[in-house]
């Protein structure tokens, strides 16, 4: 029996091989770029988390990896009163922090909710009925709402400072809530208009034939359908209002300070106690990181609404 010789009959031609190689380098380049940008995006967050567990020598030596080149300590969190051994005890810093945190939660949630309610109603009205207000038609009214986006906060800031002073709304949560609602309202209207335009009017017509009033049709038929859009608008408003600093810095002083104001005030005063600053910063951004990871698709939906017409 003759030995079976394995001679290959079909070869990849050299052009095909070069194609493979090109494809491969293409992949490497794509993933390389993706990974580099991921590092750019995530490293500051990683750095903040790890720094909040460092001690002074670790910071100075530039140690990066916990348990590898330094031992994590609760130092930063202890100064906030949030470490395991201080959580049960009294801590003025923690009380302060919780107060600011609560202010942030209350102002951002209620202003976002208010903006979504007002904005959805207006967007629905504008997408369904034709209005005339003087010379203003629907398009003009829409433009009036959306043009508020152009208004830089600094234009409103000083008049509001004076107005709020005479109305005793300075340094109150309600004052902040009203202003924040104003700043996010155009964005909500933008998203919701897009949302309602995608719902066929036959649905409401059918509901109204069945005897519902227009508000009844809105509440029972349209609202449930457009709920994802409302959630998207709400989340986006939440992000913007939670991070808002400018108005909060100008209009609050002791009672209604939000978290960004607290973070900003600590930056100047404490010099180089990095671990507590890191802990504070991280505590301030943590809620939004959680929201970003969990509700990512709503945020993207909200932002994408404006891009594609």
């Amino acid at each position: 029996m003759a030995p079976i010789t394995h001679t290959q009959i079909f070869h990849d031609s050299s052009t095909d091989l070069s194609h493979r190689a090109k494809w491969f380098t293409g992949r490497v380049a794509v993933y390389g770029a993706l990974i580099i940008w991921t590092v750019i995006c995530l490293f500051p967050i990683y750095w903040t988390i790890t720094t909040s567990f460092k001690m002074a020598p670790d910071v100075m030596k530039g140690n990066m990896v916990p348990w590898w080149d330094y031992t994590p300590k609760w130092l930063g969190w202890k100064s906030l009163g949030l470490s395991p051994d201080t959580i049960g005890t009294e801590s003025t810093v923690r009380d302060e922090f919780m107060k600011r945190f609560l202010n942030s939660v209350i102002t951002s949630v209620s202003s976002s909710a208010l903006a979504v309610v007002l904005g959805s109603l207006a967007a629905y009205g504008l997408s369904r009925f034709s209005y005339r207000f003087g010379y203003m038609r629907n398009a003009d009214i829409s433009f009036f709402f959306l043009s508020q986006l152009i208004l830089p906060p600094v234009v409103l800031a000083l008049p509001f400072l004076v107005l709020y002073k005479s109305l005793a709304l300075l340094d109150t949560r309600i004052g902040l809530i009203l202003l924040y609602t104003l700043t996010v309202l155009p964005i909500v209207i933008w998203i919701m208009r897009d949302q309602f335009a995608g719902i066929p009017t036959e649905l409401e017509e059918a509901a109204m034939v069945d005897g519902l009033s227009i508000w009844g049709a809105f509440a029972t038929i349209v609202m449930p359908i457009s709920l994802p859009g409302m959630v998207a608008a709400f989340i986006l408003s939440l992000v913007l209002t939670w991070n808002e600093y400018f108005f909060a810095a100008l209009l609050t002083s002791t009672h209604a300070n939000t978290l960004p104001v607290m973070v900003a005030s600590q930056t100047g005063s404490q010099g180089i106690s990095w671990w507590s600053m890191a802990a504070l910063s991280f505590a301030a951004i943590l809620p939004l990181i959680v929201i970003g990871v969990v509700l990512e698709r709503y945020i993207i939906k909200g932002m994408a609404a404006g891009a594609v017409k």
């Binding site: 995530l42 152009i150 234009v155 409103l156 104003l182 900003a264």
Partner: protein
């Protein structure tokens, strides 16, 4: 911004009884009367005619809210079905008008007066003095020039964002992970970012970025030392937070392009590069314009990072208009002058944005 959706056309027969209409009119006028009365009384009190013990203008505010509610209700009572429709837009419109138009008018008054909150003399009308002062204020012009540079940086941001969007749109694994990771910077508050990046990572001695720069051969890295370096650093930090925003919008635009278009281009022999420049990019033009316009609008509000990292320094090199006015108020309580600067800024913005929209409109039209 085209009109969206088809309109809902329904015919309803309203038989409003005359009594209902009369009642509706009555409450609207009554509420307006109450508002006027309270306002007049408070004005008299404020000008010192007689003392009623008011400490704030709250009563007028309450009367205003009362009037607004009565007005909405009156619309439904007097106009029936039509009133119910108006009720959808009315609350938002009233809210915006009272929160924007009124303060803006009030702001105009402030802008033309000499008013320092810390001085006991109060407000004094001073005509165009503030304008004259602005004309000779090198720091304000400097801040405006800086804004031009900051806005120009958007081109670079846009390029990077487009590249990232293309990457995310290509055939990759773990797309969701990358999307979340790329999105995260947008979620962080600028104030926290100023500390995390500006104050700690760029710290000259221990910051990881400074270490990296030393590794790369920059002997004495200082990110805020020279004016241009500082400006550049601020641009980078702002870009870092806002590139995800542009990226997501561009990605949405890319995904809305039908795949067939690219395939057709490929069949016609276009390679990747030409396919991009001659098919994808022109199709993306409307999205591009929207994205850049919105980004410009956001960029014009840039302040938080500057206030917290450099507070305008060195020598005003990083000042944006907003941060400059912020300090003008914080350091000098100069409300009148600050408001005038803001008003001028608003006028410039409105003119610039209108021009930009007109130009982009004209530029787009012959193609489609």
């Amino acid at each position: 911004m085209a009109d969206t959706g088809d309109l809902l056309h329904t015919v309803t027969n309203d038989n409003l009884s005359p009594r209902r209409v009369a009642f509706g009119r009555a409450i609207m006028w009554a509420a307006a009367g109450v508002l006027a009365l309270v306002a007049v009384v408070q004005t008299l009190h404020a000008t010192g005619r007689f003392d009623l013990g008011f400490t704030t203008w709250r009563p007028t505010l309450y009367a205003y809210v009362f009037w607004a509610v009565a007005f909405c209700w009156g619309q439904v009572l007097t106009r029936g079905e039509q009133g119910k429709r108006v009720l959808f837009v009315l609350p938002a419109a009233l809210f915006v008008i009272s929160m924007v138009v009124f303060p803006l008018l009030f702001g105009l008054v402030i802008a033309f007066s000499d008013w320092n909150l810390s001085s006991p003399t109060g407000r004094k009308f001073n005509g165009v003095d503030n304008l004259v002062q602005m004309w000779g204020d090198p720091f304000y012009w400097n801040a405006l020039r800086n804004m031009v540079w900051y806005v120009l940086a958007i081109i670079v941001e846009y390029t990077i964002a487009f590249g990232l969007a293309l990457l995310l749109n290509s055939q990759i694994r773990a797309r969701k992970f990358f999307r979340v990771a790329f999105l995260l910077p947008l979620m962080l508050s600028p104030v926290a970012v100023s500390w995390m990046v500006g104050k700690s990572m760029m710290e000259i001695r221990f910051g990881p970025l400074a270490r990296l720069a030393r590794e790369l051969g920059w002997a004495e890295p200082s990110f805020f030392g020279s004016p241009w370096m500082a400006k550049l650093t601020i641009m980078v930090m702002d870009a870092w937070t806002f590139i995800p925003f542009m990226m997501i919008m561009i990605l949405a635009g890319l995904q809305a392009i039908p795949k067939e278009v690219q395939e057709a281009a490929k069949v016609d022999g276009a390679n990747g590069w030409r396919g991009f420049w001659e098919v994808t990019f022109p199709l993306m033009l409307p999205v591009t314009i929207t994205v850049i316009l919105i980004r410009i609008i956001f960029k014009l509000k840039l302040a938080d990072i500057i206030i917290n990292v450099t507070s305008g320094g060195p020598g005003g090199a990083t000042d944006s208009v907003t941060s400059f006015i912020f300090r003008e108020y914080r350091d000098r309580s100069n409300v009148g002058y600050g408001t005038l600067l803001a008003m001028v800024y608003l006028v410039i913005i409105v003119v610039a944005i209108t021009l930009l929209m007109k130009i982009s409109d004209r530029w787009m039209r012959p193609k489609y």
